[in-house]
Amino acid sequence: MASLSEEVLLVVKKVRQKKQDGTLYLMAERIAWGPEGKDRFTVSHLYADIRCQKISPDGKAKIQLQLVLHTGESTTFHFANESSALKDREAAKELLQQLLPKFKKKANKELEEKNRMLQEDPVLFQLYKDLVVSQVISAEEFWANRLSINNTDHSLSNNKQEVGISAAFLADIRPQTDGCNGLRYNLTADIIESIFRTYPTVKQKYGENVPHNLTEKEFWTRFFQSHYFHRDRINTGTQDIFSECAKQDEKGLKSMVVQGVKNPMVDLLSLEDKTLDEGYGVSTAPSTSNSNKTVKENSNSAIIKRFNHHSAMVLAAGSRKGETSSTDGNSRDSDFFQPPVKKVKLQESIEYEDLQRENGPKTVALNLKKSDRYAHGPVPLQSQQYTTSQDIINSVNCIRHEMANYKPNLTQVLSNSTASSAIAALSPGGVLMQAGAQQAINRKCNDWCNLTLT
């Protein structure tokens, strides 16, 4: 057998392919068939290459199973064991049914990745068109080169930055009067998305009520009418479906405040070593009771609270995805233990970087995904002339290599005149050196890519 290390999941005997008897093997990663009496496979397909399987309808004389590949080719197996043909096929079919989706996902992922790379990088796309579509090299060869390069900074490319939410998204839905005593709000999918991401409670309400209780339009109408939206108005109605949201927000805000801050340098509560004892001091503490606050003052402080909350929510929505909440091991339960955050912050705050001898400039590497765009700025893509710096470096290396191995074939030397014209053509400014300028630029841009920010 071809490779003994492979795990054989199912063996079906008496399976004909192209009118030849043989045995069908289902292995961990591929399906294979070998003719009877020979110990090699004439048919072998990786599961990943298979698009789908088809079976002959029940009641047909021939009990068959067809595999359709991504390339469009197909292979048909005829189960010929008279007593258990149907059973054999069902067994093979079921196993394939389990196996194929697993590999499909993998294939899809790869395809998606390739697709994404092509979409994001117009140069690469152009290269793909030039090389693969024009059949200079095969797609596999193309990707074999690409993916290995890409795998190194795979983590980076995967770490795609989320687009944050504009803090002013509510301002973008300024109502306009519609001329007949009504207000028009313009909602776009983006704004709805922003509202949902910033205020998960609203999203929850939406899920609960739309579409069984309210239509989408009704939902948003109520949202804009609600006191939740107009937070500066104090009295929240009880029948308002958003009053619960307001309460939850309040709760969230409170729990955030109770949690306290991680950075001790901004903790205003522990700022003062000792407040004066009660009764001492020039200014008495202002009475904290709300009773003697005017409505206006209450509304003002509600606005302030709302802004703080809104900003905190927008900030949280921006960092919610991707990052897991940072755990800094800052335990608060012990007074004697100085938390590391505090120590670090203290050290930072007394540091005078310019008084110390420089130990190498602290730099942050510039992470450029599209170095060409950085170097050139947005220019219309000109097909053919556009080569990436990597390609040029490769070809330079290639030429260097060729030159090193160059042995003059003295029996077939050029004539004087041909040689000098060739030299002229290869000198700067010559006919064959048109790409030289481009190359220099690309070399330079490669240098720029290694620039670091200080």
Partner: protein, 682 residues
Amino acid sequence: MKINIEGLLVYFPYDYIYPEQYSYMLELKRTLDAKGHGVLEMPSGTGKTISLLSLIVAYQRAFPLEVTKLIYCSRTVPEIEKVVEELRKLMEFYSKETGESSNFLALALSSRKNLCIHPEILHANIVVYSYHYLLDPKIADLVSKELAKKSVVVFDEAHNIDNVCIDSMSVNITRRTLDRCQNNVDTLQNTIRNIKETDAAKLKEEYRRLVEGLKEANVARETDVYMANPVLPDEILQEAVPGSIRTAEHFVGFMRRFLEYLKARLRVHHVVQESAPQFLKDVFDKVCIDRKPLRFCAERLRSLLRTLEIADITDFSPVTLISNFATLVSTYSQGFTIIIEPFEDRTPTIANPVLHFSCMDPSIAIKPVFERFQSVIITSGTLSPLDIYPRILDFRPVTMASFTMTLARTCLCPLIVGRGNDQVALSSKFETREDFAVIRNYGNLLLEMSAIVPDGIVAFFTSYVYMENIVASWYEQGILENIQRNKLIFIETPDASETSMALEKYQEACENGRGAVLLSVARGKVSEGIDFVHHFGRAVIMFGVPYVYTQSRILKARLEYLRDQFQIRENDFLTFDAMRHAAQCVGRAIRGKTDYGLMIFADKRYARADKRGKLPRWIQEHMSDGSLNLTVDETVQLAKHFLRQMAQPFRQEDQLGLSLLTLEQLESEEILQKITQIAHQA
């Protein structure tokens, strides 16, 4: 490096030094040599603390008999912790250079919770703690009274020291205080009755001691063992406790009578203001209490609480408060005023009578410190005008100096915005405070700045109420929403924990590149205690001139006192006070030479010489005549230009020789001349 400051070898734990640090140490050494007091101003971020520590520690090592101790006072807990951290660094440098582990003992007291009055405080070479441990007589008596005379006292961040002094000596009495005090007195009476049945000898012993008087304390003070205590005046130390309050029962009865009198005084319907002698006369007329026993009140109560072996004296803080009040009011005929207000000004219908016993003279609380310790250094980033502090604190300094920040590039950009684009004069003055045009122009300024300044902007308002009103009206006009297009908005609230959270979120937004605006209040906790280094504060906008609320009767009384006693005009003091707070606010953004930031003064009154002249020299000298009355548009243009310049790389080499010196440079004659020249420009 090891530097030579007029013959004194100073270990300085850095490879380079700022020229102003050298000048600062020089001035400091001269002060110590003269055994006198000093007032030194140097911008924050120029390494003031490490200069102080390096020089004084070196001085202590060189002249252990001349200076035995350094007492370093700072205001906030983070400040104290920073000092300790810098001290640690210095000590590490010492042991690295000398190869021997330092036998220096430093002690930091912070947070009253872990207050330890270990005898070590007496042996420590360096003590770091908060102002109150020295200035609040109630604590100073416990912690600091035995500190040696040959100590150097440093008050860092001392720009508000007068207020700390005043606070520690002022008392407010409400109905609630009196009720709780009543409970205290009842408890005391019961305890006395119990103890009389079980252990009468104890009370007799106390009586005997009181006849002897406070001789012991007097001997201690005369022999210079103790620092004076303003609540324990010298005169009473020479006398026995008066007979009328000598027995425990009599004293409790005496307190009861005084309490009844105070209750009666709180039953007023109009505001009463009187001096201490007037009050004493009234006490005598109404309840026949003499001045003399009142003066012994605080000490008598302390003795009683000791005798009764009461463990938790915090339960007795109301009665302690009243007895302290009694002693103070009968001791000082000047420097205090009594104001009884039947209700708050804002709510005339709700009765909430308060008796304010208000100290108007900061020198009373700090006098014992100046008298006891051979050198007291008052220092801060903002102490301008320098000469006012010796006047209000009543002392004679041997040195007064203001050091500027030497800069290789002008990293601060103070601009005065006097007009809106529509030529409306911008000001927070009372008459135009509600003016729509001003508020709109202020909003426009913030909006424009939020579009061009990277990362963090901090805006300060003159008061919380003013900020609330402006925020509400910006909200109605949609200005805040437009600002939100550029940056997130966070706002200080009266609640400290809410504000802490807003601050942290603000920093997070600056950190992750979103950028944010923080709206805050001058004189608030943020303006006094939080630094906005680097990208946490690329611009500070001061909306208006942060005058104190002038309608308060207490303030008016203080202003009158300053005028009569110190010949300081009311307006001069108010402007000085407003400008020191404005300087504090804008100074929050610059925390070093590698930092940079805009300082925007949004009020046309800042352009006047009497205001501008009271700003610290290191801010003033960067104000050009062309930047005194700008419109919003002009400000934006100048700010853009400044920010673009600052965004260029800034390396150590750029600073060397100008604002940063190596040891070799410091030893060259030429550079030394230059440093002295800069230092004497003041």
